[in-house]
Assembly symmetry: C2
Homo-oligomer: 203 residues x 2
DNA sequence: CCACTAACGGGTCTGTAGTTCCGTTAGTAT
DNA sequence: ATACTAACGGAACTACAGACCCGTTAGTGG
């Protein structure tokens, strides 16, 4: 008998699922309040009204819990817009990213996850998958823009989408400059102009 | 007598300075090896060949130590180049940032500091000051480019420099995409083209 | 509906990060 | 050169995150 599978895999039904949901929610709350270094699994258990043992058994470490939280977030995909203009699409994306980073709960959560990824390889991989998914969802709007002739053929769609997010994350995490409405518009315009100039054409 | 000043302020001479240097060096080594969450002040003390008590007394917490380390790094300013062309200057800057983030020691250190800043306000402020200084050092090359007529008048020099770094940090910390030579060149070109198109003109 | 056992949960134990105490070393002022 | 005391350092102490044990609850398959 293979026996010791991960707990929660054999009976993923009612209680197990409820516990997972409650713990992830509590972990999100705790992360948003104090950073990820002050995250105490016993505290998460208390908030989730769940036995401390359960949290240690199912997740074991802070990075593991954060990773699971992230994978849960990745599943809740937001619908992507598709206007007729690349600049408008990119601006919509920039606004979405800006709103996420500015939101007290979501923003703190992203900061915490990114911090956790610098310490733990599994979390880092989960984070990379998360962004790969998100970027992949938005890439088509660049591809249709190529077809419309808005940007040169051969433009790397993923690179354009990354270029929109990058300055916003840079402000949020590194430079600390305000993330106002202008930042989002400027990030979108910068990516748009660079793409039009052929900077992102694959060599 | 005001008495209890911070230790190290009254006699900053020989021994105190030596201890500070040894501890900061050891902290850098430890940060580069395992992430900042696995940073143990006792371990730092051991590496620095210094009493554990001293480390706890002078810094007390991981974020405080990281902050001091960062302020120490900020003082060691690298000379900035100034070719006759904005694109070349920006490319030089991009290469510098890329090399820093790719270097095993420096890269790990920056990741750790950024992670620490998400948990601790003092560290965050120190990090923001650090980037403000670095960006301020490079801003003049944009200003001379404005005078030469390479980019429109009213262009926000700081914003251009930030735009060069942002995609590189984004790759290093969030998306996990490789930081190859092309990335640096592309980051510089993107910032350059956006600036030329007037995206960074102050409104 | 019942049996079987996966998964939970309270209580207790342990390793270690961080604190405190007090004697020692070495900057600094005269 | 000497005195004064800031700052260091070893050792013993404390508190708490995380591991473990074992009895209880509730999904799941017949």
């Amino acid at each position: 008998m293979a026996a010791s599978e991960e707990p929660g895999t054999v009976r993923p039904g009612g209680r197990t699922a409820r516990v997972r949901a409650a713990v992830l929610r509590a972990a999100g709350d705790a992360l948003a309040e104090h950073g990820m270094d002050r995250l105490d699994l016993a505290d998460v258990a208390r908030r989730a009204e769940v036995g401390k043992t359960t949290v240690y058994r199912r997740w074991g470490s802070v990075p593991a819990l954060v990773t699971d939280l992230l994978e849960d977030m990745a599943e809740q995909s937001l619908p992507r817009v598709e206007t007729g203009s690349l600049l408008e699409d990119l601006t919509a994306n920039a606004r979405l990213v800006r709103d996420t980073l500015t939101d007290p709960r979501q923003g703190a959560l992203f900061r915490a996850v990114i911090a956790a990824a610098t310490c733990d390889d599994r979390t880092a991989r989960a984070l990379h998958r998360f962004y790969a998914t998100r970027i992949g969802e938005w890439a088509p709007c660049v591809e249709t823009a190529v077809e419309r002739g808005e940007v040169p053929p051969g433009t790397d769609a993923h690179e354009v989408i990354r270029a929109v997010s990058a300055p916003l994350y840079y402000r949020a995490l590194m430079s600390g400059d305000p993330l106002d409405g202008d930042s989002a518009a400027r990030a979108a315009r910068a990516a748009f102009e660079a793409a039009r100039a052929g900077v992102y054409v694959r060599s």
